[in-house]
């Protein structure tokens, strides 16, 4: 057979799943490892049966229900990642809480308004470019993409007033009002758009950066 490591791993999943199946057939409730193995094995076999990606993914949520497993197991089986061999090759399937959820997570709405931090001051941003521009929590707003039109002076030393990890996406042609808060710490900005590279509060820093911004064509500078 000249089995590859991946195929040997497939057999490990099968062996554990088979143990789980036999235990289930004896009326036993499944443990964490048994549940993960059985779900993984069944999903891999659904792909082998020729189902498409969506059908295989959906199958992952239909194999075990809370009544099939030991009391704590639905909570212990959070995320399962596995790869199944489809007609177009291996594809990753990620199942989220597959014992309690009945179907895959949806991607969710695109236009949700972020939870703004308290004390944020409003700022208008207009995307004059033809690509979406995403802003994150700790980027120096003064130095965001030059095709974003905003009051650059008002954005000096400010970052987006959102929790870390939140992204605010401004579509081409769109204008959005966001909220910004001042940086903390020693207030030294390096990197970002390359307009500052030093202390924000040094004398003349803002004027020098504004001059640089104008020179480089930053909208609103």
């Amino acid at each position: 057979m000249r089995l590859l490591p991946r195929e040997q791993n497939r057999l490990q999943v099968f062996a554990a799943a088979e143990l789980a199946r036999r235990r289930r057939a004896r009326g036993l409730l499944l443990s964490q490892a048994e549940a993960v193995a059985l779900i993984s094995d069944e999903v891999m076999e659904a792909a082998r049966d020729g189902l498409d990606y969506a059908a295989v993914e959906q199958r992952g949520y239909e194999i075990l229900h809370p009544a099939d497993v030991l009391e704590d197991v639905p909570r212990l089986v959070g995320r399962i990642e596995l790869e199944a061999l489809f007609a177009d090759g291996h594809r990753l399937i990620v199942l989220h809480d597959p014992i309690t959820n009945g179907r895959p997570l949806s991607l969710g709405a695109d236009t949700a308004e972020p939870q703004w931090l308290e004390d944020g001051t409003p700022l208008q941003l207009a995307n004059t470019s033809d690509v979406p521009i995403a802003l994150t929590s700790h980027f120096h707003v003064f130095e965001v993409n030059r095709r974003l039109k905003l009051d650059r002076r008002a954005a000096w030393g400010m970052r987006l007033a959102v929790a870390p990890g939140v992204k605010v996406v401004i579509e081409p042609g769109e204008t959005r009002e966001v909220r910004v808060v001042p940086f903390g710490g020693a207030r030294i900005v390096r990197g970002h758009g390359g307009l500052v590279d030093g202390p924000l509060d040094a004398p003349g820093a803002l004027d020098a950066a504004m001059a640089r911004a104008r020179e480089r064509g930053y909208e609103g500078a």
Binding site: V13, S31, A33, D72, L82, E83, T136, K167, R187, G191
Partner: protein
């Protein structure tokens, strides 16, 4: 009811709640696309940060307590704890990240010090794999394979083991056999790679061996671990205690099924200068423990009950369910200080950490919760038994046993729901030594089957860089075939129960064989057999 911020450990009823939070808030460090761990944002654009940071975890530490915090590591040592980030743009940063800092994302994970097993028989190298997979990073060892030694003498064996350890990412302190009425052989072995002493009744635990060993221990500032005279052949318990002459010892498997004065070894617990440990199979007390120990003792200790006169009789004296039932209570009260494995020699090394928390959960179920926050006190008390207390007892605490600044960055990251059973990652000196990972051909790191196995700090000569050789002062400069850094064993001799972190209770333990009862200061010690064992059947295939 546990408070809102409390985290449940595994499938147990143990909850931990952070006593401080340096993680959450508007400047939280998050790795990944579009998140805060970027140059000039959450990461300082110039050096001056730490080499490695473990960011955003819930730290459980027997000394530091329960804290949501980040850990900074440089040159393999913990150098700071606090809020992680970029002090150029963020307030209150205690762990400076820079563009060179490697970050382990511990958000949502529990972080503990690497466990220490202070009773390891290395009857096979497979013991080390099981140890690492269970979150143990320091081993106090005896033996060098399937050989009847109960120490690591002779010096050829010590040299061979140091050569072998250079491929294994654990810190090691080897005990040498001190069952010797004369000091010469013991001194010789201690000076050639030893870190402490072991007396075992199977090779002699009489008064002369005890006195001789303690003289050597005092001379070299090392610990004596003792398995006492279970036959009461040369000594009864009080004679053994008298032979200690007020000098500190570490009494192994204090309940006695693992060996030692029958039936009353447990009476050594609670005495000021007897540091005590249990081994895994009797903790927490379970319905099958007594039956198992009859089989286990005979199998391990070369008995032929039924075929050889007296074997069944000594076996029955040694294996007592009623002292096992007392042992778990004495753990909960902090009278017994440590938990260890007795690996392949009557115990399971993969269960050291797990058994500690199983006992905590079982006694909570029996006796109820202690004052909060959450179960922090109880959880930390049991954590101390498998981390800092064995480190202190064996003179390793300057380097390992807690996450205090200055110590080697040996730590374990656990998903809380898999706590004590399946570790996410074991770091040795800040480097990944063992952990969970999936199919190597996968598009992600965690494609099933996810297994717990070696990481890069376990490969090639990496263990040399990340692991310590603990040595007695007498062998610190010895010519040994190890390239790892050496650390001196120290501060072993002046220890008392008061030095055992969170486990300091002393008292009089009395064992009444006629009534089959154990009392601590007059109070009956009896745990019910565990009804629902946490961290076990909800997870394990077998």
């Amino acid at each position: 009811m546990p408070d809102a911020a409390a985290v449940r450990l595994g499938d147990s009823d143990l909850w931990v709640a952070p006593e401080s939070d340096d993680v959450s808030g508007p400047d939280e460090i998050i790795a990944g696309w579009g998140n805060t761990m970027r140059d000039g944002l959450g990461v300082r654009a110039e050096r001056a940060g730490v080499d490695v940071a473990v960011v955003g975890g819930l730290v459980l530490d027997p000394v530091l307590g329960v804290r949501a915090t980040s850990i900074g590591i440089s040159d393999g040592r913990i150098v700071c704890l606090g809020r992680a980030g970029n002090p150029d743009t963020m307030d209150g940063i205690g762990v400076v990240l820079d563009t060179g800092t490697a970050v382990y994302d511990a958000r949502g994970l529990v972080v503990t010090p690497g466990g220490i097993d202070c009773h390891v028989h290395l009857l096979s190298p497979q013991v080390c794999d099981a140890a690492l997979a269970a979150g143990l990073t320091t081993l106090v060892t005896q033996d060098f394979g399937p050989v009847w030694n109960l120490g690591t003498n002779p010096s050829e064996a010590e040299a061979m083991m140091w050569a072998a350890f250079d491929a294994i990412p654990v810190n090691v302190a080897m005990l040498v056999r001190a069952s010797s009425a004369l000091p010469g052989p013991v001194e010789h072995a201690l000076a050639r790679g030893g870190a402490g002493l072991k007396i075992h009744e199977d090779v002699g635990a009489g008064p002369e061996q005890i006195r001789c060993a303690l003289d050597i221990a005092d001379r070299h500032d090392v610990q004596l671990a003792i398995h006492t005279d279970g036959l009461n052949e040369a000594l009864s318990l009080e004679d053994t205690y008298a032979a200690f002459a007020g000098r500190t010892v570490h009494a192994y498997h204090i309940e006695g099924a693992g060996g030692g004065h029958a039936p009353n070894l447990l009476e050594l617990a609670g005495r000021d200068r007897v540091l005590t440990s249990s081994t895994t199979p009797t903790v927490p007390f379970g319905a099958g423990a007594e039956a198992e120990h009859l089989a286990m003792t005979a199998a391990v200790h070369v008995l032929e009950p039924g075929a050889r006169v007296g074997d069944a009789e000594i076996l029955r004296h040694r294996v007592r369910g009623w002292t096992m039932a007392a042992e778990s209570m004495l753990h909960d009260l902090g009278v017994i200080h440590m938990l260890s494995s007795d690996s392949q020699g009557m115990g399971r090394i993969g269960e050291v950490v797990r058994r500690a928390f199983q006992c905590a959960d079982a006694i909570k179920a029996q006796d109820g919760a202690e004052p909060g926050p959450a179960d922090n006190e109880r959880v930390l008390r049991y954590l101390a038994k498998v981390t800092i207390n064995p480190a202190i007892t064996h003179g390793l605490a300057a380097d390992v046993g807690s996450l205090e600044v200055g110590k080697l960055a040996d730590l374990v990251l656990w998903a809380p729901e898999l706590f004590a059973v399946r570790p996410e990652l074991i770091l040795k000196a800040g480097m990944p030594a063992w952990g969970s990972s999936g199919d190597g051909d996968g598009s992600t790191m965690m494609a099933e089957p996810v297994t717990v196995g070696p990481q890069f700090a376990a490969i090639g000569s990496a263990p040399v860089q990340t692991s310590l050789a603990f040595l007695a002062g007498a062998s610190l400069e010895a010519a040994l075939p190890t390239r790892r850094r050496r650390a001196r064993v120290q501060c072993c001799r002046d220890l008392t129960a008061a030095d055992m972190v969170r486990n300091t209770r002393t008292g009089t333990v009395s064992v009444d064989a006629a009534a089959r009862e154990v009392h601590l200061d007059g109070e009956r010690m009896r745990a019910r057999p565990v009804e629902r064992l946490a961290f076990s059947g909800s997870y394990l295939l077998g």
